[in-house]
């Protein structure tokens, strides 16, 4: 028997399994208070998924507000936080939309499908804004490279991302692969998608206009990802569902359908047949209907039995919470329905009118609108949608600086033994170049299509990925993601700023002007005050950094509970920066180009090894302070890199980060297939000059006859510059110290991942 609204009214004392659905006593109490009765099982399912941490941001909300309250003034921001993805004006009548999301836990359970559906989900967010998705980046974190479980998880994740993105025809243009024991059992699979649209063609998730139809199109709805809600189906009032007790919480993707869905949706947008649109992601129809209704006129009626099902035996609560992939929900004017359905037919995409937008009076609007859902004519949901979508609980979780933080910071890396002889310096360079975190990621990235659609101007292993937006003018966007969990562990405020600074620097190094930020905050349990402190500090740092650099945060994602038992992952804010190039033919690549070009080091090098790759991979040490943050220096450096690129001055530019100068030289030599001869700054210990991870630095190369121009620029921008040497030869040579032939370097840099994961 179906638990109808009337039945719920008559049976107030039925015991409901709210705790099994993750609702706390007081949360359940609030639902009863909102409704003035007990919820039906469908309503309970909706509230429980929508009020989960994942959908309601109940632990993070109070902190994330800073991204809005501290947002810098920006002419570029067209749509900010709160929509499916932020949108920025990139000039020439175009806008770009981008966002990063996590699919961490599903990727641990089922690496291929978890990662694949992670890509699918973020791509639909971008599509929902009215944009054509144009590229993917994939920041990844795994346990130790040689751990057995990493051998299970990494190849599956990489194949899943490639399998999905390649099949969608989206180039993957950047990302990260980082290993650390803290990610054992908690791999991080983040995915960023960027899309492009005309600036006057933005779509919003709004169900306005009473009488307009609600159309669900795309995949049929099955029992995907409803693990939690199965508690309900087996509870007494849905006893007819008894046989379906075993339900998968794993979602399976169909990238082919998503590709068709993209083309179909773009044609629908093009013909202006869509009043409002929402993708179906976490919480499925529960989320799409309540968000559309509460952002629109407030009223909606859904006939749930009209939803095309994969399994006929599905119960209404399952239909409402199913996370089946590749589905979209559109609001369409009645006169356009026929044409809408015809376009779906052209693309062989299933579509069904499942309801309509309704009128609500001011009183109903004031209590949050009205969403009614029927199942074969019986009323199973009657709720104010705003209370489901936006008025969930908000927690001020307690936070406390970890007791060990002082000890950790006091454990400075100075006591670690440093390489000093020529042989030691040389072998340290080779060891780092081949370490899992700094080695070539070619084994991973070769599994990703980088060429499709023919607009990829730069892709991995470049500092930033660059995509051409307009073939006639050369307008393009650049993107980079960064995040260093070790730095953030040592100082979450600084760590978040360093992540921001590095992504910003990477974008600027490619020649692009940074414009906006997205972020994915990967942390342990918010119920642990020490984790909550890391989170609060990181958000505070990121918001302050964005204000300083003049970049609005346009959206992002929070992933909590990345922990096994007591051990949380390294706090890992991953920051994505989007920039603009007015003409992509002026982009600056990282590879050295021509013998005789002068090499300059820009920025200041200090003795900074806290949280460094050297301390980690040579000594297994994590302690001290991360490199100091100097956002003014970052701004100056970026200004210089952008101006020099516009002027066509730079032959190459590469930012310095993990592994310091040595690693940057390795990468520029190997990318360009040409060596270099450099002389270290005399006033620095050679080890510090080579391996320090001071921020706000880059190496650039330039034709010999333009050196003076560069020096003038540096003076004007206030960027310290030192001539290191020149490009040429078949070795990376540090004059007076050592030389490494490129072949030897390449072997060290490229062998690591294949030897761990191939075969």
């Amino acid at each position: 028997m179906i638990d109808t609204v009337a039945h719920a009214g008559e049976t107030p004392d039925v015991v409901q399994p709210y705790a099994g659905l993750g609702l706390a006593d007081d949360e359940y109490g609030r639902i009863r208070q909102i409704l003035g009765r007990r919820p039906t099982s469908c309503e309970l399912a909706m509230y429980s998924v929508m009020w989960s941490e994942h959908c309601s941001y109940k632990s993070s909300k109070v902190h994330l507000r800073q991204f809005a309250t501290m947002a810098p003034a920006s002419d570029a921001l067209l749509v900010g936080i709160g929509e499916n993805a932020g949108v920025v004006d990139i000039g020439q009548g175009y806008a770009a939309t981008f966002k990063i999301e996590s699919h961490n836990h599903p990727s641990f359970v089922e690496p291929y499908q978890g990662a694949a559906t992670g890509v699918g989900g973020i791509v639909r967010d971008i599509l929902t804004m009215g944009a054509r998705p144009v590229a993917i980046l994939d920041p990844l974190r795994f346990g130790p490279a040689d751990a057995a479980d990493t051998r299970r998880v990494l190849p599956g994740v990489v194949a899943g991302i490639g399998g999905y993105a390649n099949c969608l025809g989206l180039p993957t243009i950047g990302g990260e692969v980082v290993f650390d024991p803290s990610y054992s059992g908690n791999p991080l699979v983040n995915a960023l998608c960027v899309g492009v649209l005309r600036r006057d063609a933005i779509k919003l998730a709004r169900a306005s206009g009473p009488g307009n139809k609600v159309i669900l199109y795309g995949a049929k709805t099955g029992r995907d990802g409803i693990g939690g809600v199965s508690v309900l189906a087996s509870a007494s009032f849905d006893s007819s569902a008894g046989e379906s007790a075993k339900k998968p919480s794993v979602q399976v993707g169909d990238p082919f359908l998503e590709k068709v869905l993209i083309e179909c949706s773009l044609e629908l947008f093009e013909r202006d047949l869509v009043v409002g649109i929402q993708d179906l992601g976490g919480a499925g129809l529960s989320c799409a209907t309540t968000e559309l209704a509460s952002a629109g006129s407030g009223g909606m009626r859904i006939e749930l039995d009209r939803v095309p099902l994969r399994e006929a035996s599905m119960q209404p609560a399952e239909v409402l919470t199913s996370e089946s992939q590749e589905r979209m929900c559109a609001v369409v004017a009645p006169g356009d329905v026929e044409e809408f359905l015809a376009i779906c037919e052209k693309w062989e995409v299933d579509a069904a009118v499942i309801g309509e937008v309704t009128e609500v009076g001011p009183q109903v609007a004031a209590r949050g609108g009205s969403l009614v859902v029927t199942w074969h004519g019986e009323l199973v949901v009657d709720v104010p949608p705003r209370t489901v979508a936006h008025e969930g609980p908000v927690y001020e979780r307690p936070y406390a600086r970890p007791a060990v933080q002082d000890l950790l910071q006091a454990d400075v890396p100075d006591r670690l033994s440093r390489p000093s002889t020529e042989a030691e310096l040389r072998s340290t360079l080779l060891q780092l170049a081949g370490s899992p975190n700094l080695c070539s990621k070619e084994w991973v990235t070769a599994q990703y299509d980088r060429y499709v659609r023919g607009n990829t101007v730069l892709a991995q292993p470049e500092d930033a990925g660059v995509i051409r937006v307009d073939e006639s003018t050369g307008l393009g966007v650049a993107l980079a993601t960064d995040g260093n969990g070790r730095y953030t562990r040592l100082d979450p405020f600084a760590g978040a700023q360093l992540a921001l600074a590095e992504a910003y620097r990477n974008v600027a190094a490619s020649g692009a002007r940074p414009l906006a930020v997205t972020n994915c905050l990967n942390f342990g349990s918010p119920e642990d005050p020490e984790v909550m402190w890391q989170f609060a500090e990181a958000v505070r740092g990121l918001a302050a950094g964005c204000l300083d650099l003049g970049l609005p945060v346009t959206g992002g994602n929070v992933s909590f509970y990345n922990q096994t038992a007591e051990a949380a992952i390294l706090p890992t804010p991953v920051v994505g920066v989007l920039g603009v190039l007015d003409d992509v033919s002026r982009r600056t690549p990282i590879g050295f180009r021509e013998a005789g070009h002068a090499i300059y080091l820009l920025g200041e090098t200090l003795d900074e090894f806290g949280g460094s790759e050297w301390a980690h991979s040579v000594h297994g040490h994590l302690g001290g302070q991360p490199p100091s943050v100097d956002l003014a220096a970052e701004r100056a450096l970026a200004g210089l890199l952008i101006e020099a690129s516009r002027g066509g001055l730079l032959a190459s530019a590469h930012d310095l980060s993990d592994g310091g100068l040595a690693q940057a030289l390795v990468e520029s030599c190997l990318r360009g297939g040409i060596g270099c001869r450099i002389t270290l700054q005399a006033d620095l210990e050679p080890f510090v000059a080579l391996f320090s991870e001071s921020a706000a630095r880059a190496i650039v190369t330039i034709a010999a006859d333009q050196v003076q121009q560069l020096v003038d620029h540096c003076v004007r921008h206030g960027v310290p510059a030192a001539r290191l040497g020149e490009v040429g030869g078949a070795a990376l040579a540090v004059v007076g110290h050592f030389a490494v032939p490129l072949d030897e370097l390449r072997a060290a840099h490229e062998a690591t991942l294949p030897s761990l994961f191939a075969g």
């Binding site: 359970v109 089922e110 499908q113 995949a219 099955g222 029992r223 995907d224 379906s244 075993k246 339900k247 998968p248 794993v250 399976v252 993707g253 169909d254 082919f256 359908l257 994969r310 399994e311 089946s324 992939q325 062989e348």
Partner: protein, 81 residues
């Protein structure tokens, strides 16, 4: 020498996008009495062992650990004559 077959199929509740695509293609080819298609994998294994109980148990273990992804797939082991 024993010959064993391991059939691996997606669990019934898991989306079989491939099977659905094939079903539609068969429909377009005029095979309109096809009600459903599901695609799985078939492994033919030759073992240097007798197919006594321990032998079969070994194959089960292979299926469990490697051939099937038991999060989303079911399997069946059969011996061939």
């Amino acid at each position: 020498m024993a010959r064993v077959v391991v059939d691996v199929m997606l669990k019934p509740e898991i989306l079989d996008a491939q099977g659905q695509a094939i079903q539609r293609a068969l429909g377009r080819l005029g095979f309109d009495r096809v009600q459903s298609v599901r695609q799985g994998k078939r492994f033919e294994i030759e073992l240097d062992a007798d197919l006594d109980d321990p032998g079969l148990a070994q194959v089960k273990e292979m299926a469990e650990r490697l051939l099937a992804n038991t999060v989303i797939e079911d399997f069946e082991v059969r011996s061939l004559p």
